[in-house]
Symmetry: C2
Subunit: 364 residues, 2 copies
Amino acid sequence: MGSDENLEKIKIGILGCADVARKVSRAIKLSPNATVRAIGSRSGEKARRYAAENGFPAEARVYGSYEEVVEDGEVEAVYVPLPTSMHEKWAVAAAERGKHVLLEKPAAMDAAEVGRVVEACERNGVQFMDGTMWMHHPRTSRMRELMDDPDLFGHLKSVHVVYTFDAGTEFLKNNIRVKPDLDGLGVLGDIGWYCIRSILWAANYELPNRVLAIGDPVKHDAGTLLACGASLQWGDGKVATFHCSFLGNLAMDSTAVGTKGTLRVHDFVIPFEETSAAFTFGSNSRYNDLVTGWASPPVEHVVKNEVPQEVYMVKEFANLVGKVKDGGKPEKKWADICMVTQIVMDAVKESIDKGCEPVEIVSN
Amino acid sequence: MGSDENLEKIKIGILGCADVARKVSRAIKLSPNATVRAIGSRSGEKARRYAAENGFPAEARVYGSYEEVVEDGEVEAVYVPLPTSMHEKWAVAAAERGKHVLLEKPAAMDAAEVGRVVEACERNGVQFMDGTMWMHHPRTSRMRELMDDPDLFGHLKSVHVVYTFDAGTEFLKNNIRVKPDLDGLGVLGDIGWYCIRSILWAANYELPNRVLAIGDPVKHDAGTLLACGASLQWGDGKVATFHCSFLGNLAMDSTAVGTKGTLRVHDFVIPFEETSAAFTFGSNSRYNDLVTGWASPPVEHVVKNEVPQEVYMVKEFANLVGKVKDGGKPEKKWADICMVTQIVMDAVKESIDKGCEPVEIVSN
């Protein structure tokens, strides 16, 4: 964080007692510029238990509704880990009351909803950011530097991403991520989000022209997606593929191939370790003369991190909020990145719904 | 190699002075059960130079034609690294003269040609094997053991393979691998072959039901493929993707996801080093409690090899030939594996030719 870091602690209200909020609560505690001001749940009892279990500060308010959090005059920003179908309503409600918004992924059910959230944030002059934590890991900046180097990486030709985990029987029966009325995008919204973001990150957020669902999308009896994938194409010949699934062993691999370099990560969303993260990078890679080995094999890079990646996210969000409080303008890039991710996700969903027909994306 | 290894040296004739034959020549020299008996080229002068540069034994014959190699009564087996369009003619010619056949990849222009080669080998009671060297590396056997373990890997759910290399301007202008009349399958035949084989290897050679070309196939002005990819589906829900290209930095990555395990290799065709090769394997992989790291990250396995992988291939081929000479039957599995690879390649080609329409594969 730069010298412009605002060490006044931004007071954050949390909407809902989601599992993912446990690590974000910890991250808020570990951030020098943020604190938990309130938590709200439909059950006050549940919220109290959650506050105790997660070591919330004594002054944190505990509410039996989301409404009370967004109405709390002391709350400056909200973190929204609610089921996806509730994102738009509560993110807009918070923005309308002048609260900055840190919104869990997937941002919304579709790009129209994201548009209304972003518009509410802009109209009310509040900061928006989605909860894609790996974006804030120092490893990500280091990878970006290498990929931006025309001599080391050249220009991007293809990206291939896989994210799978074995959700298990209980999850597949009862988890909200398979409930059509709560997280209606299923695996595509849950971990497909990360695959799409990772591809767009590699492509500097340039929207593809065309998206095609591939493989054999697997659906829950209730209709939500359990496994799916897609191929993406850009006008300049770049291509990408991803596959996401609740039905395979845990894996999160990304390979990006440039004209001169190759980047590989095997834990792009959740690094294996909390204190450092690795990737391999190859540049101007060549076979040896007999083609029995590599003259220049890729090199492993290890990036140490002082705090877990979600702390970097909270610090950055609170830092941007602090700047707005100091009279600055909200940083627009996080809304833009969120929107292109959701647009691609919508196109994948549309392609699946149309029986794996290609879907064209028309840029505005 | 087992105790049944036949140490009588099988006398091999090489058809053509291809680049790839340099390492296979070396492998024949390094194999205890094989020797170079002859080399033939359209130019006797070129063959002589090649024999000298590659340290062929003094007794090796040098011919100014392929015909003379297959007519040489001392030649027991041929290695055929000719351009793909010449494979059928010369493999069949060799088989008809009772010579065993080690055929470079891609085996042929299509499965019908492979069928005629295999039929000629069967009719003449000679051994057939294609030149897919990585199949013979001890790493491959070790990976197979792990993937065959139902507790460690479960059953296969998806495979994702990328093989790219930066062929460069000179290659793209003049290399036979972009000439329609010589290697008409372009990048698909050259390195797509390995992608398809790697997928089929992971799937225990079960043919997919459906193949769909994806991405945006790139073609040479002459019409040969320079970059392409495909998605494969099986009836049981397994899926696979691959991407191959002459236009990106060198990369050869494969990720196979099972219900319980994950396998990753980054140098599946040409190991980084000649003396050992690594892969990572994860089993029953889980996040930690807060989902801020992995409770059980994948483990790197390193497999040492006594000789380069192509030596294992030559030894295995010569060993099988030795068994036939001792009255045994040719080993059929290599022909079967070659045929399924070519069938899938044909389907990918057909899908590309049809503008990326899906192609069904009907098993016999």
